[in-house]
C-alpha cells in the first residue's frame, strides 16, 4: 500500500512545482529597488552647478550638522513635476532641500523651476547618472534624508505625495 502511495509523490512534486512557477509568473517583475546605502555615508562626489543662484553640490555640503533632504530629479521626468508642490510644502516647513539633476541641461532646469517652483538650495548636475548610481538610486524622482554628518538616513522612492509630507518632515526631524 505504501508503495502505491509513493508512486504519487513525483506527481505531487510536479504539481507543487507548477504552483510555485504559476505564482512566480503572476508576480509583477519590477520590484521597488531600495538603496543599500541607507545608514551609510553619502558617497564622495562633487557636481557642478549651472543655474544662477544655485551652487553645485558636493559631499562636504552635507556635513553642516543639520539634516537636509536630497532630491534626485530631472526636467524630463513627469512625476518630478507632480511632486513639486510637496517639495514647496517641505521647504515652507523649514526643510532645506538640495537637488541632483540627472542628465539635464541648465536651460531645461531653469525652465522647469520657473514653471513648477524652485524649492532648492543647491543644484548639482549629474550628466551621466554617475552620482545617482553611486547613491544606489534607480530612477527619478527619489529623495534621501541626509543627517548633519552626511549619513543617509532614509530613502523615498518615487514622487512625494501630499499625504507623505508629514512623514518626511518627521524623518528629517528624526535625523537631527
Amino acid at each position: 500500500m505504501s508503495r502505491r502511495l509513493a508512486l504519487w509523490i513525483p506527481l505531487g512534486l510536479f504539481v507543487a512545482f507548477l504552483v510555485v512557477v504559476g505564482f512566480g509568473l503572476r508576480r509583477p517583475p519590477q520590484t521597488v529597488l531600495a538603496s543599500r546605502l541607507v545608514g551609510k555615508p553619502l558617497p564622495e562626489f562633487d557636481l557642478p552647478g549651472r543655474i544662477d543662484g544655485h551652487d553645485g553640490l558636493k559631499t562636504a555640503d552635507f556635513r553642516t550638522g543639520r539634516p537636509v533632504l536630497l532630491n534626485v530629479f530631472a526636467s524630463w521626468c513627469v512625476p518630478c513635476a507632480i511632486e513639486a508642490p510637496q517639495l514647496a510644502a517641505l521647504k515652507a516647513r523649514g526643510v532645506t532641500i538640495h537637488a541632483i539633476a540627472i542628465r539635464d541641461r541648465g536651460e531645461d532646469i531653469a525652465e522647469f523651476l520657473a514653471r513648477y517652483g524652485d524649492p532648492f538650495a543647491r543644484i548639482g548636475f549629474d550628466d551621466r547618472s554617475r552620482v545617482q548610481l553611486a547613491l544606489g538610486s534607480s530612477g527619478v524622482p527619489e529623495s534621501f534624508v541626509i543627517d548633519g554628518k552626511g549619513i543617509i538616513r532614509h530613502q523615498h522612492i518615487g514622487e512625494i505625495r501630499p499625504d507623505q509630507v508629514d512623514a518626511l518632515v518627521a524623518k528629517v526631524e528624526a535625523a537631527r
Binding site: 519590477q30 521626468c77 539635464d104 531645461d108 548610481l133 544606489g136 534607480s138 530612477g139
Partner: protein
C-alpha cells in the same frame, strides 16, 4: 468587438513610457573599448548586470538611458584596470544581489547551487539499487 479593441490597446500600450533626457548618451555607452580583451571583459560583465529601469533586461541589451550610463561606467572602470568582479561588487553594495544575474554562493543560495548535485546523487543511488536488484 469593443472588448477586443480594448484588449489590443492594452496589449500595445504597455507600461507608462519612460521619458528620455535631452543629453546625448555617454561616449562609452555605445562605443567599444579600443583594447579587444578589455571590451570582451566589459561585454561579459554587462551581459550579467541587470538594467535598473527596464524589466529583466541586461544592461547590454537595454536601450534605457540609465543602462547606457551603466555601460559607460563598466567600460571606464575596466579601461582603468579594475577587475570586473570588483565592479559587480560595487553595484551589489548599492543595489543588492538583484542587480546581478549571477547569484552569489552564500548560505541563502546554497540550495540553488547544490540542490542539483544532491538530486543527481539521489537519482544515482536509486538507479544503482535498481540495477543491483536486477542482477540479483
Amino acid at each position: 468587438m469593443r472588448a477586443i479593441l480594448l484588449f489590443l490597446l492594452m496589449l500595445f500600450a504597455g507600461p507608462a513610457a519612460i521619458a528620455d533626457s535631452n543629453l546625448p548618451p555617454a561616449v562609452l555607452a555605445n562605443t567599444p573599448l579600443p583594447d579587444p580583451a578589455q571590451e570582451a571583459k566589459a561585454q561579459e560583465l554587462m551581459a550579467s548586470l541587470r538594467c535598473l529601469v527596464c524589466q529583466n533586461q541586461s544592461i547590454a541589451d537595454s536601450h534605457a538611458e540609465m543602462a547606457g550610463d551603466m555601460r559607460a561606467l563598466v567600460r571606464e572602470r575596466i579601461q582603468a584596470g579594475e577587475d570586473p568582479e570588483a565592479i559587480r561588487g560595487w553595484l551589489i553594495e548599492r543595489y543588492g544581489d538583484w542587480v546581478s544575474f549571477r547569484p552569489p554562493v552564500e548560505p541563502a543560495t546554497w540550495p540553488l547551487w547544490f540542490a542539483p548535485l544532491l538530486f543527481l546523487g539521489i537519482g544515482g543511488l536509486i538507479a544503482w539499487r535498481y540495477i543491483k536488484r536486477g542482477q540479483a
